[in-house]
């Protein structure tokens, strides 16, 4: 697998692929690409898109050949150099510094009660908005943002701040068009996060509270890295649980037979894992080839900028039968929505606790007759980050 050869096939170019089309609906595009090859050069995104499951998985497990430390990374410009753009051993040092904050024991001892309280707050807000309300704006987004705010330790900010920071920093990370306004908004948020971090660190050193900032405050991590990692975690810890939650609710409401089975047996975990397989909240992340190499029989040049398209890998028909269908009963196989290998999502258990253990079962229990608004269909969009954008719902 790691042998480099000179007989590899060349990689085809797909110059017909456009960003607006990917944003609208990437799945027919992946189907067309897949028929030809597992890797394509896509000029519109200036990357080699890797869409095959086997190829994506191989990249995740091989940081020697496929580095996360991309040159000219927009993420580094927008957020600073976080662990997500480092390889081991440097990555490992910072990941270890996160300690137990995002792990199951702390979730049980500390964060479950927080998610519980936040559920009650935003379920009340959804109810007050009344039937026809948008479940994303009234519930999923503020719930995810407030959960993250507390876990990270920003007692000097609001959930609205978290939402603004997250979106503008992410927009910077995806600012391929080099739009100066996008950079200006990202830079403003970056400064605001720096100020908030700088204010919290001494306070949390004096009075530790088990939050991420509190643990990093005494970890010896350099300030620049603390700031960069917080920005990355703000960008990576808000939209994803929000989108995973909204997409799961939407999928279940659109498949009443599956909803009945999930409800009666409490299969919320099946519903959630199948939903992030079906529509991966982070559908693409970058890697860079460290040398001329070969992947799935195709030649990759040194320095190649790769897009690991887990959103496509999760619909690889060689792994998942009838991959475009949402099916909670499909045989469980490892999906790649949380990534894999050393950058495997650090927040996977936080996402599961807040969405699977709390939000999903309670929403369906406490909003009887929850259903899609008949005249206002949900809107879905996004490429790198994809999910349900608005989800008008009714209940009895």
């Amino acid at each position: 697998m790691t042998v480099d050869t000179t007989e590899a096939r060349p990689i085809p170019a797909a110059d017909w692929v456009t960003i607006p089309d990917l944003y609208e609906d990437p799945y027919p595009i992946y189907q067309r690409l897949r028929a030809q090859a597992p890797i394509h050069w896509v000029p519109a995104v200036n990357r080699y898109l890797v869409i095959g499951y086997e190829a994506c998985h191989a990249i995740e497990l091989d940081q020697q050949r496929f580095s996360a430390d991309e040159a000219q990374s927009l993420m580094k410009r927008s957020m600073g150099h976080s662990m997500l753009r480092k390889d081991d051993p440097e990555h490992d040092v910072e990941r270890k510094a996160y300690g137990g904050v995002l792990r199951p024991k702390a979730i049980k001892q500390r964060w479950e009660a927080v998610f519980d309280r936040n559920y009650a707050t935003y379920a009340a807000r959804l109810r007050a908005a009344g039937p026809g309300a948008d479940l994303v704006a009234e519930f999923a987004a503020p719930y995810a943002a407030e959960n993250l705010r507390v876990v990270l330790g920003f007692s000097n900010a609001t959930q609205q701040d978290l939402q603004r920071w997250s979106q503008t920093l992410i927009d910077g990370t995806g600012n391929y068009a080099d739009d100066p306004q996008v950079w200006a908004a990202a830079e403003r948020s970056s400064r605001e996060v720096d100020e908030a971090v700088d204010e919290m660190l001494p306070a949390l050193r004096a009075e530790p509270d088990g939050s991420l900032l509190s643990v990093l405050a005494t970890s010896g991590m350099p300030l620049d890295s603390v700031r960069a990692n917080l920005k990355m975690t703000i960008g990576g810890g808000l939209n994803e649980p929000r989108d995973a939650l909204a997409t799961t609710v939407w999928a279940l409401l659109a498949h009443p037979g599956q909803l009945a089975s999930v409800r009666s047996a409490g299969r919320w975990s099946d519903a959630f894992e199948e939903s992030i397989r079906w529509v991966a909240p982070i559908s693409m992340y970058p890697r860079e080839a460290t040398r001329d190499t070969e992947l799935c029989g195709m030649a990759i040049p040194r320095g190649a900028r790769l897009g690991v398209v887990v959103g496509a890998a999760n619909r690889d028909p060689g792994v998942f039968a009838d991959p475009d269908a949402y099916d909670v009963d499909r045989p469980r196989k490892p999906h790649l929505a949380f990534g894999g290998g050393n950058h495997f999502c650090a927040g996977a258990w936080i996402a599961r606790a807040s969405v699977v253990s709390i939000a999903l079962p309670r929403l369906f229990a406490q909003f009887p007759g929850l259903r899609l608004a008949p005249s206002r269909p949900a809107t879905i969009g996004g490429w790198v980050f994809r999910g349900v954008l608005s989800l008008p719902v009714h209940w009895d």
């Binding site: 995740e60 497990l61 990941r95 137990g100 792990r103 024991k105 469980r332 490892p334 050393n342 495997f344």
Partner: protein
């Protein structure tokens, strides 16, 4: 070379050799052993490398760290109080030249 025997449901088993310093999860993944996933690459973060270690090898195992302990409560197949371990935390070599494990029915 250290050796790992994976016993599967039914009567089949897979025997693999691995370098000292490797671990039970990595030995499985590198050799395509069915039933071991190892999503997180060995950070005691995913619990998809769960194995039941056979009795005769229990004495040779390293102690269970705090990270492994909490993750053993997150396995897909039921935890066995004595025999359940995370494959990625069982480093091969020194003291663990050979180990036999049963592969659980589910990792996800």
């Amino acid at each position: 070379m250290p050796k790992v025997v994976f016993h599967h449901h039914g009567d089949t088993s897979t025997v693999v050799e691995a370098d000292a310093g490797s671990n039970v999860m990595r030995a499985a993944v590198q050799n395509g052993v069915a039933g071991i996933v190892g999503e997180c690459g060995g950070q005691a973060m995913c619990a998809t490398c769960h194995v039941y270690v056979r009795e005769s090898h229990l004495g040779a195992l390293p102690p269970i760290s705090e990270d492994e302990e909490e993750m053993l409560d997150c396995t897909a197949a039921p935890r066995d109080d004595r025999r359940s371990r995370l494959g990625c935390q069982l480093t091969l070599g020194e003291g663990l030249e050979e180990v036999e494990v049963d592969v659980p029915g589910a990792q996800l």
